[in-house]
Symmetry: C2
Amino acid sequence: MITEGKFTKGTPCRDCPLRPLPLFRPFKAEELAFVSHFKIGELAFGASATILAEGEQSEHLFTVLSGWGFRYKMLDDGRRQILNYVMPGDIVGLQGTLMGEMQHSIEALSPVVLCVFQRDRLAELYREHPDLAYDLTWIAAREERMLDENLLSIGRRSAVERAAYLIAFLYQRAATLELFSSGWSVIPVTQQHVADTLGLSIVHTNKTLKKLAARGLLRWAEKGCDVHDIDGLLALAGWDGLSEPKRPLI
Amino acid sequence: MITEGKFTKGTPCRDCPLRPLPLFRPFKAEELAFVSHFKIGELAFGASATILAEGEQSEHLFTVLSGWGFRYKMLDDGRRQILNYVMPGDIVGLQGTLMGEMQHSIEALSPVVLCVFQRDRLAELYREHPDLAYDLTWIAAREERMLDENLLSIGRRSAVERAAYLIAFLYQRAATLELFSSGWSVIPVTQQHVADTLGLSIVHTNKTLKKLAARGLLRWAEKGCDVHDIDGLLALAGWDGLSEPKRPLI
DNA sequence: CGGAAAATTGATAATTGTCAATCGTCGTGG
DNA sequence: CCACGACGATTGACAATTATCAATTTTCCG
């Protein structure tokens, strides 16, 4: 298990594999130039590595370039709550960068590569590139929106509804990123991750997922959850699904 | 019940009653000048008025000048989840302003007065006042942090711990705003609000609060919760409490 | 005074958690 | 190639927590 990430120079932003996705809003040439300058390299982690730890002063700001991870907090006695998942295009470490210490940890679910940005230059970003500054706020507001949904789900949905919501949520996020191109759609989480996201015990989570499988909505596959019927999941959760217009990528 | 707010010219920012609080970071003269110009008036609501409704296009951006409110979402069948509370100095409507439609509603707990900002001028804020833009992002990150804590609480704490956490959280936020100057400390919520925040039923919430009262940690007073032993609540919740350095006010 | 909203209570039911195994898969070392 | 061990999934039995139902009581206000 790699805990320290491996640093490399990485690919230049102009060759960014993410930016061409239809999901992301177009980027002005000067913005691209600035971001290229803002990025100082890449950091690679293995699956289950700790990317950022609670209590750390984060020196840098990151964008996920590839891979899946999750943000979580723990209580003193070890109870863990997964707050949200991070996927390509997500910004990571912003809370820590703005407010000092990280108040949550981030762990890799699969091998993860981050773009590394120099914290010092953030002021320059705000000074010289108001559009990018706006984008940062936008991205923070988007995270808030996801957390609102999660809170609603954990607080008020039943176990089955909650599970359906979570799987549908992850499926849709990954689908818009075109992570399922290869034909099947496996979300790389264990049932323990699902349990820690839903606020349920592992045993009850297992029984709940079985119910969803019995309805033909999903199947538990090798190393994750294979979605069979996204519409069924959405209906069961009573959720409209993600409504994401074009979003910024930094 | 007032649903439409009453609009007035309001007090000029230079006489803002909030800004002098030690909680808020100092403000440069030019920032004050811009914000004065950014603010177009005030909007007053009565207790239990709907300040913003899910689905609305919000024309404006607001800062709470006085009063308590809460943000919430509902499922189709009426189940309600309170996401967070809003208090003086909090920004309201940012999600809607940035991303289009509001995805949650906001209701007043007590009479509330908002400062109203012209949405159109937001671009100008980003262009001309990078420090204020930074503050906006900072405030969004702060909200995210509070939501993280809430999520941890709802997902992983027991009913009693959850209730203790919530009351301590609200108490501390109000205390830093010096809302309890008059000697006693009553949080203006009903048990239904507590229930909808904790994700519990009203009956079980009542029994849970009784347990806290039996331990001498609080008492249910007229129109709210009177905190008797904040340290006891913090200890019971296993929570360190709010750690807020100076924060920006817009 | 009357009525409505909020708080309280006890009884009972449903949901979810805990315990204790078992099973399956997979990678490693012999 | 096979045994071993680790981790994750699965199960059944039972316990604890939380929800629901159905009153009552209390408080608040016009």
